[in-house]
């Protein structure tokens, strides 16, 4: 009985591997190979760390092992090698996938509170602290 359950459990563990089908082709040429120019590679690496993998969604394309992330890295390296600026490449991805694809925070109407609220809260805090530290009128001071 237990053995049958173990067999079923083992088969269930195989299923995700089958569902996550990958292609039979090797990774793209520049997916896992650095660019010969160290400066360009550094630019590409910095950009790859701030672009979201569209398959795994929680990882940057620099961290992800997904096949598509490899293709995205190859695309980024290819564009950097062709002389495109990292900001232009980031804009290229945003144009296609929306601001979601970039991990680099940008100022926008919807994100503005994230930038403004901490500053406002800091000044409210300053006001509160100032009230505390203000000298009490003489005669009314605590004992």
């Amino acid at each position: 009985m237990i053995r049958r359950w173990l067999v079923l459990l083992f088969m269930a563990m195989l299923v995700p591997g089958m569902v996550q089908a990958d292609s039979n082709l090797p990774p793209a040429a520049l997916a896992n190979t650095q660019l010969p120019d160290a400066k360009q590679e550094a630019e590409a690496k910095a950009l790859m760390e701030t672009l979201r993998c569209v398959v795994c969604q929680g990882q940057s394309i620099a961290d992800s092992n997904a096949e598509m992330a490899g293709d995205m890295r190859a695309l980024v390296r290819g564009k950097v090698a062709a002389g495109e600026k990292p900001d232009a490449i980031r804009a290229w991805f945003i144009e296609r996938y929306g601001p979601w694809v970039s991990y680099k925070p940008e100022m926008s109407a919807i994100a503005a509170p994230v930038w403004i609220v901490p500053v406002v809260v800091f000044f409210i805090g300053l006001l509160l602290v100032r009230g505390r530290f203000r000298k009490r009128p003489s005669g009314k001071g605590e004992a």
Partner: protein
Amino acid sequence: MKKLAIWAPFVLFLIFVGVVARGLIQPGDRVVRSALVGKPLPAFTLPAATKGVRGLNTADLATGQPRLLNIFASWCIPCIAEAPVLLELKAKGVAIDAIAIRDTPEDVARFLARNGNPYQRIGSDVTSAVQLALGSSGVPESYVVDGKGMIRYQHVGDIRHEDVPMILDQLEAAR
């Protein structure tokens, strides 16, 4: 005034609980949609995916009539389920082209022999470069392209039998 103010933290807390509960009850939408809907197709030229089919470029998709552009792969299991539905659309007179992602000519030929060929043209995208240029994040996906080469609708995932009327409506709307 002061009596009301004393409730403010409690009200803030309730709002916080509400936001968290909403996030727990309805999990976020994980579907990645292309931001190119309503914009022209990016320019691309792809070689034929296998013997006996024609390759695909941007101009082939701007023919004056709406077309369906299907992104598929021979190694993609939902694409097998989608194949009969695409044949059904073809039988209803829909012009369908395809891009095969990370595929070999042999695998594409085998896929077509086994599942039928609803496609007029099949371009081969071995590094997913055109797929990324289209804002697509997986296989299968389908785009409704109007006669001028504008993307009018994106369908993420396989087109099921019950989606056929909706796809036909989208193609009609793109006319």
